[in-house]
Amino acid sequence: MRKVLSVALAIALIAILLFGVADLPTFGNAENPSNNEVSYRYLEKGVEETGAVNVVAGIILDYRAFDTFGEATVLFTALITVIAVLRRDEDE
């Protein structure tokens, strides 16, 4: 009974989301709203301002290095949390 209900709920959710996908702009179009002036600026001035040939590495380690710092902190915090959960004190 629960399996039938969960499959029906998932199908309803997928149908609603697929109605949204039908209104998206075409895949691979150069006139997408997501290709705005930010990516053009990163591609044109990326090599002379950062010195990295790989533009993605120049973005995550020079333009937006603070986000990578926050993500390294998330890794460290998850490590500390797992150690704190799995620690076992020496009982008698």
């Binding site: 950062t50 990295a52 040939v53 993605v56 120049g58 710092f69 998850a78 797992v82 150690i83």
Partner: protein, 147 residues
Amino acid sequence: MNKIHKEAERSEILTEVGKVIIPFIQIFAIYVILNGHLSPGGGFAGGTILGASMILHRLIFGWDNLISRLTYDRVMKWMCASLLIYGALKGYSFLTGGMHLEVWDVPLGTPGKLLSGGFILPLNIAVGIIVSITVYVFFKLFYEGTI
């Protein structure tokens, strides 16, 4: 209830094959990290490969905690030092740029060579060390049940 399972016996085939294969995996991981600004790859992918080689080392050679070189204390010191080095390097360029001070800046060099790009190479190495140690300590904790 100290360990969830028993450690396997020492096996000759695994030891000999491990001595040959583990250096190759580590050299490939160091190549991917150091060429992060010239070709696809970078700190995260290279760090995962290095962590996989450390897991293999622990599985083959770790039957006695005294012989293994990757004990818990040493590994945690490397990780904390690496995170602090990342924070210091990033904080230096962040604060001197934000307050418009005119202090010494890292020279950029010519694009296409190994030593170019300012701070990108040390930051890649720091991120690689952090990711590899995280992957290794997750495996070590789940394998032994406790610290």
